[in-house]
Symmetry: C2
Subunit: 670 residues, 2 copies
């Protein structure tokens, strides 16, 4: 079969779907049809009948707007979730063929892409996952490559540049970028915004670079062979013509996404000798594509045989890890840690432990090291202050067994890589940095939430409690901005027990990312139990200390480091005879899922409610009612010692007490 | 004076301040003392007695943790806001010498820095501002250079990489980076996270690169001469020893910020032959530094004479622009546009205008083009769909007069450059992209808010109304996350009149950034007036349509494209005899500043309140009270036509009506 005909099959499915949808981005599928043909028919290890085969090669369409390229490939190769009716409903509500690819490994869609640069960073994470799992399980079980289709935009984005630098540094030889070098972006010529030799930039970063004609299937295929033979990550700089085949638009700005009409499709059919009806792929061409979809079936069979031949324990562990299941006994390890910590630690909020709050997290993580070999920590150049390396050693170009990845000062690619690792499977990635730098990670965190990937984002230095590094490093608004994100659990534990409970919840949560947010400063115990009897954080918020001596008149709500302030305020109010409860609210999202009677029992509507958090009020009102008070920040922080800042900004037990008194005075409780 | 003694004066002020503070980052000031000495004593155009001289060279300490380098320089050169008592109170609450530099041009601090990479991107913006103003006003008035102190972290960050690429592309010859090539980051050796030849990466991007010994003042000085002579932006790759002078730490990981003690200071005094008391700079050394602070005074005098000699109108315009004042008559232009638009446009929400909501903004911006020559638009490769180029032409390497900057697909550096332009003065930058990509800009937006810079961030495509590009491009949570940020005004106008009113407010607002958020889809008129009599958006929210026929029973709250839905719902409710008001809330932050009586009059506590916004509820509760209802998104969006999505997610007038009815039924109004 002439590979050009195979490529045209992609091209016309894309044209027909985009014409029917009335919008779409034809630039990529028409410009990369030959590149994709070479990859899918001659190189890619995949089994269209078993799209989730663990040892398949991974493909990321980083230029996600060119989604019809991927849908056409998946349909032609025989993925059963991408039947022709899906192609015909491109961009219709409910179709698998959405405007941008939406994660569905069973359909052959490895990750959701669209925001530029994310996809190649995901691919980097997948390549790290493969290398690490290969080191753990060996070539017989894990030995695959990662490919990314890449446009100019992905390479201009900062996160893309971070990915290039880090992939070169880590010498990820099984990672290959297929660059659609069409010299056009949305604004027109790339010369409007870039002058550098992109291929040379990759070479500087340590990549193997080949420049070639992206419309020559044989050239692409040869370059893919060369890429495989080279120990460095590979860039195929494929010179292409955007929207190739649409005479009116090809090679031009409008090729990107200017509307296509029936007439364009007809002219293309004429010009490219494709005398077939819309959405019709002639049988010999379709047969050749379907054969490509089966090309690796024997490899798949052989792999299955190898898995089946494994010693039972080894096989069970491999399957457990790849399925993302927690190991037997992990809770015992956690419980033992909790009990040890509770027995060792100081009590009652009087003697702060000498170490920072973030160490509560790293203690737990470290305790789980042996039982959870699938965890992998990424950190953006804050190893010492974020404290999660402990017994781990570094994942490097020379040692793939390491489970600690020094990402450099590159938070964005760190988060996007974690997404890629999670999507790959077989790893539990946790990305660690200061909470003030969450904004650098945020575009990738959004993708984790949107994709429902169970990535753990750990943050330290969560408030003005960091002290004199000042307002640039004091995240007054970041908690609110994270709580605003759908499908993201934000947990801010108050002490060692809550830290362990939240870690347990984070590990159990499989449908989306979790943020674990810790103070830099010490978090003395506020819970007298060790949490092993009942995970009280599971309901998101709970009554830590019920009102004493009569009906509750005051409800103090707090999270994290401010729970201790609420406890101190309660002590003062109770001493005055004011029956006061303290509610710890480590996770709003879990609390919001509780039934109304539980929520009312906790929040105490009708009581004087005061929330205290060393952050902005934004978002608190739904728990405070119309008359509640808030003690916290009113704007950005300042540079000074932590204690001085808490006093300066009035985040004290005295302020909580005063606010409660004022509420009781002005609004006598019913 | 031996320049090494001058450098030691920096070094010991830094050591003494950090020892006294008990924490700090000695790595930068000790490692870059010689580099800074060369720059400040032999090259920098500045007048310590007049730090805000418009034609001064700009200096950005992008590695802001090394703040003592800057404070020492400013003190030594005689900046009156950085007296010795400020140095002695380094990191104390209230000191000018905060943990990281905090913007105060009158103190010689050009921008706030700390989050890595932001500073060099600010510097890029300053260099663009200089080039553009130079083209406008000529060498006699505007001719200065921009320098940035840069660490490895800044160059690893994506935003830094974006800055490198764009600066090279724009051939900003007056921009110079002084790179502290000390091969150490917080985690230790840079070899943990980077392998590439950084200097070569700059060369690929079109920079002039010189590698030199950063402890050789003469070599640095010669390189600064060479940088000035080269038409490209320049990198001085200065090989340095981190924490040079502290024997225990220099050249090592701990040099970055490990605690310094008195003994370290004493040992350094001994080793470097500096037999002076803590905080004491010997008179001859101090005299030499003070002389450096006066070095450019004659240049400053000559510049003042040239300004004084300008024709009156030209001088007045130059001074107006540099002071950031609005021109006489700008409101007339805006008013005329409003009246024209109101006369032309369709009325009453029946006939949507054919163009998208974002065009309402670009119409206004275009109308102001002639009267506001100081505006400059930055756009991240979305010229066509965001529509703000109009009569502007591009700022390029060959044409500095252009006021439209094609940033490429680089949102982060775009926003950070806008900050730099604003901090530079003489320009009103506006950065434009889709609202879904606000997260890419967010770290820089936070810096704009923290610095109080009047940058305009314009966003289009603000909801599921974008349609079938799907959830990656549908910002359901971004409004909430922006509203969560302190000192940022978020405006979401409902129609042409509100668009003009919000633009007016944005232009008048000088103490912080403003977001102007627009729909992709059409925004039919909901206001029958043209807004020229009274700017109703000034109070943030207002009663667009009061309840008719008796006391108000229902209050419908909405913003932007959903105000029309509220108007339609009101129509239905009024038809049933339910007295219903519609409140438009284009800017929460302005509304929150109003007095309680106005807020109550608008919000109607006691009425059934329903808010409608094609976004998440997060943040709305403070306006809804405990019983209010919300019609909007409950999670991420989907790919499909806009109308279908609004129906699918139940954001319709019918849903608003039902919610109001239910509230009235369950909670009869008092």
């Amino acid at each position: 079969m002439d590979p050009q005909r195979l490529a045209h099959a992609i091209r016309f499915l894309a044209i027909d779907a985009i014409v029917r949808a009335g919008e779409g981005h034809q630039g990529v599928p028409l410009g990369m049809a030959e590149i994709a043909t070479a990859l899918y028919t001659q190189h890619l290890k995949f089994d269209a009948a078993a799209p989730t085969w663990w040892d398949r090669d991974r493909v990321v369409l980083s230029n996600g707007h060119g989604s019809m390229l991927l849908y056409a490939l998946l349909h032609l190769t025989g993925h059963e979730r991408i039947l022709l009716d899906q192609i015909k409903t491109f961009r219709v509500l409910g179709s698998h063929c959405a405007g941008h690819p939406e994660i569905d490994p069973a359909a052959g869609i490895e990750v959701t892409t669209g925001p530029l640069g994310q996809g190649i960073a995901n691919a980097l994470g997948m390549a790290v996952a493969e290398a690490h799992l290969n080191a753990r399980f060996g070539d017989a079980l894990v030995d695959h490559r990662t490919y990314a289709f890449v446009g100019d935009g992905c390479l201009q984005e900062g996160v893309g540049q971070e990915a290039i630098a880090l992939a070169g540094h880590l010498r990820l030889g099984k990672l290959t970028f297929l660059w659609d070098d069409n010299r056009i972006t949305d604004d027109g010529s790339t010369s409007l915004s870039i002058s550098e030799d992109v291929a040379e930039r990759f070479r500087v970063a340590g990549w193997h670079v080949q420049a070639l004609d992206g419309h020559d299937v044989d050239a692409v295929s040869a370059a893919l062979d060369a890429a495989r033979a080279d120990p460095r990550p590979s860039l195929l700089a494929c010179r292409t013509v955007i929207a190739r085949g649409i005479a009116r638009l090809q090679g031009q700005r409008g090729g990107h996404s200017a509307r296509l009409f029936e007439a364009d499709a007809a002219a293309a059919r004429e010009a490219l000798d494709w005398p077939h009806a819309p959405f019709e792929t002639p049988a010999p061409v379709l047969d050749a594509w379907r054969a490509a979809g089966r090309r690796s079936r024997s490899a798949h069979d052989a792999w299955q045989a190898r898995v089946a031949a494994l010693p039972a324990a080894q096989r069970a562990e491999f399957e457990r890890v790849m399925r993302g299941e927690l190991p037997a006994g992990w809770q015992d390890v956690l419980r033992a840690h909790q009990q040890r910590a509770a027995a060792d630690g100081p009590k009652g909020g009087i003697n702060p432990p000498p170490q920072g709050g973030i160490n509560l997290s790293s203690d737990i993580h470290d305790a789980l090291t042996d039982v959870l070999p699938e965890r992998l920590v990424l950190c953006a150049d804050l190893e010492a202050p974020t404290a999660h390396k402990r017994r781990l050693h570094a994942f490097t170009a020379d040692d793939r067994s390491g489970a600690y990845l020094h990402c450099g000062v590159r938070e964005h690619v760190m988060a996007a890589m974690a997404n890629g690792m999670s999507a790959h499977g077989g790893l539990r990635p946790a990305a660690v940095t200061y909470l003030a730098f969450a904004d650098y990670e945020r575009p990738a965190m959004r993708m984790a939430a949107l994709m429902g990937l169970p990535v753990t984002f750990i943050f330290s230095h969560d408030s003005i409690g960091i002290g004199s590094n000042g307002p640039t490093h004091q995240p007054v608004e970041v908690l609110a901005s994270l709580r605003a994100m759908p499908n993201l659990l934000v947990m801010r534990p108050a002490d060692a027990t809550e830290a362990a409970e939240c870690w347990q919840l984070a590990l159990e949560h499989s449908s989306g990312p979790v943020c674990l947010v810790f103070a830099r400063q010490a978090l003395p115990r506020v819970r007298s139990d060790d949490g092993s009897a009942e995970n009280r954080c599971r309901r998101g918020a709970y009554v830590l200390a019920e009102a004493d001596g009569g009906r509750r008149r005051v409800t103090l709500l707090a999270t994290g480091s401010e729970v201790l302030i609420a406890v101190q305020a309660r002590h003062a109010l109770q001493a005055e005879g004011v029956a006061t409860a303290v509610v710890s609210m480590p996770c709003w999202e879990l609390f919001d899922e509780q039934d109304v009677s539980y929520r009312h029992a906790v929040l105490g509507p009708g009581t004087a409610r005061v929330a205290v958090e060393a952050a902005l009020r934004f978002g608190w009102d739904c728990y405070l009612g119309e008359r509640g008070a808030f003690i916290g920040m009113r704007g950005f922080g300042a540079s000074g010692p932590a204690d001085a800042l808490y006093r300066h900004f009035g985040i004290t037990a005295d302020a909580v007490v005063s606010a409660a008194r004022e509420l009781l005075m002005n609004h006598p409780i019913r």
